[in-house]
Symmetry: C2
Subunit: 186 residues, 2 copies
């Protein structure tokens, strides 16, 4: 897939859903305006391919939870997800939501944002990653950022102490580009 400049992806993806916009999967465009239905459909398709290959099942509840998180395009609490499920005829007890979310998280389709006690759809399922999350304190947008440099720094420093890192939680609270501007000129 050809990668577009920031300007292009911002404008083209809004006007032309059929373009090869990488949308949320592209860190540089994660905070930019774009047609998110495109990203969502793409991610969902990839998820289905992955579960087929992996021998696990994307059952109706699980699939619907993933869809909900993709549609919302932000982090949702387990009980928010549960409310929607219940409204659609699924069970209305916490384990229904938590089990689906846990399954999706274990299989890399959603991430847990500890700072928010919430869950967000992963925008690059299959690409094994322990991403960094950028959370805008103003508009609550959440974006995934490549974690390689951060993880390298972390792992190296920990190894010096003899500590073996297995999993990491890296979350940054701050202001997204849009909110940065609006705060500078209110």
């Amino acid at each position: 897939m050809a990668r577009m400049s920031d300007a292009d992806s911002a404008s083209a993806s809004v006007s032309d859903p059929e373009s090869d916009c990488r949308g949320c999967a592209d860190p540089a465009a994660a905070f930019a305006a774009h047609d998110h239905r495109h990203c969502a459909g793409d991610v969902l398709a990839r998820a289905e391919a992955l579960v087929a290959a992996g021998g696990v099942r994307l059952t109706p509840v699980r699939r619907r939870v993933l869809e909900i998180l993709l549609e919302e395009h932000r982090a949702l609490g387990a009980y928010d997800v549960l409310k929607r499920l219940a409204a659609e005829g699924f069970g209305n007890q916490p384990p229904v939501a938590y089990r689906a979310l846990d399954f999706l998280a274990e299989n890399g389709f959603v991430h847990r944002i500890r700072r928010l006690n919430a869950f967000a759809a992963c925008m690059h399922p299959g690409e094994d990653h322990a991403p960094v999350f950028l959370i805008c304190r103003n508009c609550n947008a959440v974006a995934e950022m490549p974690a390689a440099p951060v993880r390298a720094a972390l792992g190296a420093a920990a190894a010096d102490l003899g500590f073996a890192v297995e999993r990491t939680t890296v979350e940054a609270m701050g202001l997204c580009p849009a909110c940065c501007k609006s705060e500078a000129a209110p």
Copy 2:
């Protein structure tokens, strides 16, 4: 958790409490056996100096909460802290613990470990820092590690996306040196 009581008894023979051991404040020694009463007393003294200079008050509850976290030498939940406070005659309702913990966290004397929904005493109060936490999944020991390299990598990558980082949560789950060994040879 049993780990540090072992360490405490062992450290008396290993190191001299009156030496200038940096104990937990030294990342390289954070997981090593040492006389932790030394670190605790030192940190508490520094905390008192800092509040005096800062115009805030280290009241009995607040001081006791800090002591408890220093004595325990691991992350404690707010309700664990509360139980101890109640047993000592302080209030026994959640806000008592949360208020003290919030105060201590705001003033840099304790850190919140989001992964554990818990709080741990800071081992270098006053030194403004947003540390990295290393959490042993086996013995629950928690150590602070310098975050400079990690934060640099994080801030740079975020800046490329136009995101202004204000606060970070960086926590690594894994095995501490001691548990690494015991897991290798069970």
